[in-house]
Symmetry: D3
Subunit: 134 residues, 6 copies
Amino acid sequence: MNESMKARTVIFGTQEDRIQRRLDALDPDLGRYIRDFAYDTVYDRPALDLKTKELIACALLVSLGSPPELRTHIRGALNAGAAEAEVRDALMLCVPYLGFPRAVAGFEVLRQHLEPREKPAPGQGTGLQDSEDQ
Amino acid sequence: MNESMKARTVIFGTQEDRIQRRLDALDPDLGRYIRDFAYDTVYDRPALDLKTKELIACALLVSLGSPPELRTHIRGALNAGAAEAEVRDALMLCVPYLGFPRAVAGFEVLRQHLEPREKPAPGQGTGLQDSEDQ
Amino acid sequence: MNESMKARTVIFGTQEDRIQRRLDALDPDLGRYIRDFAYDTVYDRPALDLKTKELIACALLVSLGSPPELRTHIRGALNAGAAEAEVRDALMLCVPYLGFPRAVAGFEVLRQHLEPREKPAPGQGTGLQDSEDQ
Amino acid sequence: MNESMKARTVIFGTQEDRIQRRLDALDPDLGRYIRDFAYDTVYDRPALDLKTKELIACALLVSLGSPPELRTHIRGALNAGAAEAEVRDALMLCVPYLGFPRAVAGFEVLRQHLEPREKPAPGQGTGLQDSEDQ
Amino acid sequence: MNESMKARTVIFGTQEDRIQRRLDALDPDLGRYIRDFAYDTVYDRPALDLKTKELIACALLVSLGSPPELRTHIRGALNAGAAEAEVRDALMLCVPYLGFPRAVAGFEVLRQHLEPREKPAPGQGTGLQDSEDQ
Amino acid sequence: MNESMKARTVIFGTQEDRIQRRLDALDPDLGRYIRDFAYDTVYDRPALDLKTKELIACALLVSLGSPPELRTHIRGALNAGAAEAEVRDALMLCVPYLGFPRAVAGFEVLRQHLEPREKPAPGQGTGLQDSEDQ
């Protein structure tokens, strides 16, 4: 990971254009606030490295009931250099603070990210990538 | 920080006995579950260092509305080697995920931890330590 | 909008009978409580106009994680005279109070309401209307 | 119900092995914590009978937005001897504490449990059992 | 407990008039909705006994972060015949579903209810009763 | 109300400098984000009038458990031209969506705002203004 890159470029990786287009399609101002405020202002603060930020983001998204953004930030944590075991321990730390149902939902999202090939029927494999944030 | 120490010994620091006694007084089984399951089982998992765990814990406690445990874990993050700027960035990362009111409440707890001397009237200074987790 | 109409008649519009039947099928008492207490007692209070009430309802449903009721009340706000831009600003006001994930989920529901024709395959178009609150 | 049986054996019934395998597949430690701490430590406490515990669990899962675990514990409450009317009253008690949207989502899960035969197309009946906790 | 008594008469006990006056002072309609809808409609449903309802209520109030109502319903559970150990097990069941911070806050409210004499300075003892729901 | 004024000037009224100083003291960046993003970007969007925005804000703050910001925005709603009855109906609309405990906590904050003179002992009256957002 290049530390001088913007956080959103590392987090979103090859999905960056697609995710920004999806947010802009929901509402252009919403897409702009997320890019300019959430990422380029708050996320680009210098004290914590990006891996730590993404592990915190994963835990916060588990607290919100594991919305689709959790998958984006599990991938973001891995893109920022986290080992799978580190993501698992971040999700597990949610157990004593939030209880098991929230944590189980988080691990279910991790499973879907790690084993995407189990689900599509033959011939649909690559298509899954296009909708993985849905 | 000695990595071979138990997480709760580092997190609680000089408050360890007092906190455990307080939890045991609420309910002996509750105190035991927190010690044996939350700390000695979940917290002592090896993949993440304690500083990262405590920054995640701070964010999760902000998501819960900043209960008294937030102060314990802000102190725990600092005890585990986090700089104040790192704690601030962990709290700030809650803004895009949880909104401003939850984050403001978290920063208010940080302020109380950093500036305890502002509050007591003359002569009451040391007494504050005894109730700081209340 | 006829101000003397019951709130639920304006909010539900052509879906009124279907929604009441669905709630009654879940539990007849539940359906009755929603009709008699939530709508005919609380909603019919006189101080606020129905458009304002529905914009508040949309924000509250975003706070709950955007359950299916959000779609009903986005439609209700529009039925009560709100412009699309007013619904968008009500959802956007959730950003500073609740953070982006909740708000994004709300805008996703708005998108589904505004662009229902994108989803069904040819020949399934009208069927979508029957299950739009699911 | 045999009072000397473990809570999880009664709650999960014929689904016990499948549910434990699913949790272990998410993460072996997570599966073990749920079995050893949540069930064999907390659930097996002696003061309340299992039916009461399961009605409380149903209400708590409604408070969390009715995750898939709600279906497991609605079935658990019935397995522990609760009448359908008792489950309905436990869900209804959520109305004054949590509002209607959470309660409606809970009753929707109850409906899916009570009427599973409505959904599968002819010939798919038994297959539903395998994924009912999804 | 006389089963033909209204739920609110048993739950509130000697505090009934005071609590109703406090709610009416906040807003007369709010006080009326709580009495007529929450208590005399939902709570007076027949399937569950009042003790079970109050244990469920305690758990739901823990899920909401233990607002002042938790103390009222801990007292209500005891008034309805629950043993202290049953209240403790209902609060403990919140641990696997909601995590430790919510449960600790609930046990703190229980402690305040059980040990009210510890707090007032000499001569203030009976005054505490008047504000115990604050 | 002058429509060309900034939202925060109307909402905060005579408290504007004090509130901004308090937020800056918590963290200068936090204070800046709230002023520049929450208020001067999101709040200053043009579709809704400020009174409607503040009624929505009050409802959202009730959903968060009525943190201190609720008092600021109850005052903001009144400053923006809302009648007390309109604030009451916005809080009451929280009952069917969020249940009674959240709504009661909101009405309690309204009561504190409307009756500040009941609390201070003789001679302390004006001092209350300085800490009313605490």
